[in-house]
Symmetry: C2
Subunit: 501 residues, 2 copies
């Protein structure tokens, strides 16, 4: 491992440089670790790898708290190694998912703006070790994060011990990108002073107590690229319906062509939807989101987006080369903040965001399931979708109307898990069309959702359900014994489609 | 009707005084009315009564938007008269409830902090007439509200026409009680500058454009008293468990005996719970809530609460006499604000409230149903419980573990309607006990909820469900085809209790 001590600008810390195996050896059974990392970006890598190695010879378990999902198969390796007791607040790894659903370790699915608050207030276990990736350590006592900020600020401020992973694979050009601000305790804090997307309110790095730095590790392991797939016919249709909705908003005088700051969830559908705005009439756009995916940089390149704020940058391999190879071009248009600030209800409501997130399924009344396949099996987690949907100006949920070759309808009578209630869902969009649910009573919602959003193969079946429900009456008519019939059909027959005998 | 023109301190408005029937005659079929009124307090009365009279001779329908529920049987009378097209954002009347559930008119169940924002942004129909109750009109162009503020500020600022009902039944001593602040449009607003419960940030009345005042009506009709029932054995037990939880929080160093500002939902259970704090060691308490019920004044009298902020005061007949008969004693310890401010996520999160709300039922994973009996029939509405639960420091839900003489278990495998997801529910309390859900994974939650909160008659049945669910696996194990079995049992057999054959 090449070590570049120039990245540690406070010389008094040079003596703390150690190997990853040594750092990993300090971690004890039962401890809680706060790891940097958000959607595969800026994750601590060297110490987690060493920890997995150590687990081959030793039994121990730890709690793993992060910003969000980790890259470099770290979640997979940690989960396979059997050393996780509890993981929070988000993950997106196939192996970890399998182990969570098998009950092999615990997972707490949290709103991403809540974790830092809960750690500070003592509602979660104390962090024994913060392990955070950095570009450098400044001479005046700050850790400069890399491609994500996540919960690192709070992990460092609250942890008993800190391990810094200086990653030489990240360019020092990233310095100046970050804006670190931590609210005071609840009841003693001032308003968070962000009133514009590009407001800088904090420091350029994470302040730390040098007495808590246990070790500094060097690594060169770069971030995992994202696995975004290109837009397809359905996601392009979704994008067009969304643009139609926004165009109607402009026509009604509720927005100008500059719209409002946009938040867009992670994943291929959200990426495609944002990508669809390149050829629209909307302009001078701003992004206030969690994650900047490829599409945001495409929009910047196209001159459509003039500023983007988030807590991580997660790109495909190709886009990484382009963006980090020309970083001077982008850096004045970007800020990375803690996830507590990117996802803070105060700022989301103040700025009046347009929030676009992906649903696994939604029901005829507009309740959304973002997390649980068939109501029981965790996919990834709610992430920031609740932070944004609950507090944004317009909360939009997008999904393809069917999945698994038509055997699954994404529109169901009753979602088998509720992450976002009908109160928090303003617009639903599929490739079939959209419904603006604002101000609509449940019975108005049901008719429009079935008509505009459901796939033609499922419309009749949904209408049958709704008509039977109407005979039972109520504000939100249901036939409770059949409410999950789509899901139980799927479990029994491999398809939600009823055999119409 | 006695008229007291001295209550209209701007003489140029005296010529606008009319009878209620004349004012009601201006309202046209298809219009949208914004009425003052929040939980039976400060509701416009004379014009709604006149409108109901007019409906005996004429067919028309209007949308009725309010702060929350109305008193004086106005919701009942409007609903019976058949003149409602759509009602929002909350109601609590038995007749209206019946008509909503029969599909006779539409009801939109909204978070109470959202309505004003949606009216300003144009996402709801324009308000044709704001009809607001007042103590007086000042010489400098302000309407002084009475016992609630609700959405009146926004109704007045956004309506095409304004009718003021000056209610001589309210004392002018209420002047100075109110603090009116309306945020600028989203994207253009500054932080809302409330950082302490007792901060005054606005004007003492509602500013208005005098060209929009169509008429001023006099009335003497006083507010309806609340129908709070006294604490009983179960609600006292709930209060004691809640106090135990708070005591543990103090012991863990997360709070002092001053706790944090308290929000408490409306109703007998919430009132009883708050009442239970009179004999506790907690002191110097502050209240930042929607509604001040009897118990808050009991706590003020006991020297336990030193300041209370809300958007309405709703009291029993006896308490009304005591409070309004000695108002000088209380006025320096009270502020009434718009519901947009009392329920604003920005302030709720900043102050770090302890939010106590009532559940109809909750499930073994901590999801809460606040609104829909058996998942379909509207009770009252979500009210502010979502605003508070989602953004508070500790979101507590309370309910008795059984209802209807034991035929209903308030703890079920899967709530038949979700208003608050497991992500937003921190503590659940019944007379059996409580569970602190923070940081717990679903499987940890289920065991504790069944053990600590369920009624002994239902524990075995809930455990059976959970054990079968575990055989299916998943992050949140369920047996979907039996998830609503408690509810379908109730519908079929009149009890959720399974006949153990």
């Amino acid at each position: 491992m090449i070590k570049n001590l120039e990245r540690i600008k406070d010389n008094s810390l040079h003596s703390l440089v150690v190997g990853a195996n040594e750092a990993a050896s300090w971690i004890q059974d039962g401890m809680t670790l706060g790891l940097s990392g958000f959607t595969r970006a800026g994750d601590a890598k060297a110490v987690p790898f060493a920890l997995v190695e150590r687990a081959k010879k030793e039994d121990f378990k730890v709690n793993i708290f992060t910003g969000a999902s980790l890259g470099s198969d770290i979640d997979k390796l940690l989960s396979e190694a059997g050393i996780i007791n509890k993981r929070l607040p988000f993950q997106a790894d196939a192996t970890m998912r399998k182990n969570i659903n098998a009950g092999k370790h615990l997972f707490v699915d949290q709103h991403l703006s809540h974790t830092a608050e809960m750690i500070r207030s003592g509602a979660l276990p104390e962090i024994d070790f913060a392990i955070v990736e950095a570009i450098s350590i400044t001479s005046d006592g700050m850790i400069i994060p890399t491609t994500s900020v996540g919960n690192s600020l709070t992990f460092v401020s609250q942890a008993k011990n800190i391990i810094v992973e200086i990653n030489l694979g990240h360019s020092e050009l990233l310095e100046g990108l970050h804006d670190l601000y931590e609210p005071a305790d609840q009841g003693e804090r001032e308003p968070i002073p962000v009133t514009k997307v590009d407001d800088r309110i904090g420091t350029m790095g994470i302040p730390f107590d040098s007495a808590k730095i246990r070790g500094i590790v060097f690594t060169e392991h770069i971030d995992s690229p994202s696995t975004i797939v290109s837009p397809d016919f359905e996601t392009e249709e979704i994008a067009q319906h969304l643009i139609t909705f926004l165009r109607e908003e402009v026509k009604a005088g509720r927005f100008t062509n500059k719209l409002a700051p946009i938040q867009s969830g992670i994943g291929s559908v959200a990426n495609a939807v944002l990508h669809g705005m390149i050829d629209s009439e909307f302009e001078d756009l701003q992004v206030y989101s969690e994650v900047l995916q490829d599409s945001v940089f495409d929009l910047i390149d196209a001159g459509k987006v003039n500023f983007a704020s988030a807590c991580s940058i997660t790109l495909s391999g190709k886009k990484m080369e382009q963006v980090y190879g020309n970083f001077e071009k982008y850096r004045d248009q970007l800020i990375l903040r803690p996830q507590e600030i990117t996802n803070h209800p105060e700022i989301i409501r103040r700025l009046g965001l347009i929030a676009i997130n992906t649903a696994l399924e939604f029901d005829i009344y507009g309740n959304v399931n973002s997390t649980h396949v068939s109501g029981t099996k965790m996919m990834n987690g709610i992430g920031g979708s609740g932070d944004f949907a609950r507090n944004s100006r317009v909360a939009i949920f997008v999904t393809k109307s069917i999945a698994k070759g038509g055997n699954i309808s994404s529109i169901v009578p009753f979602v088998a898990h509720v992450d976002h209630t009908e109160h928090d869902v303003d617009v639903v969009v599929t490739e079939q069309g959209y419904v603006d649910l604002r101000g609509l009573a449940p019975r108005e919602r049901a008719e429009l959702i079935i008509e505009n959003c459901a796939h033609p193969h499922y419309k009749e079946q949904l209408s049958h359900y709704y008509e039977e429900a109407l005979t039972r009456g109520g504000q939100t008519p249901h036939v409770l014994e059949k409410a999950f019939s789509f899901h139980t059909n799927l479990a029994e027959h491999g398809t939600m489609l009823e055999k119409l005998v």
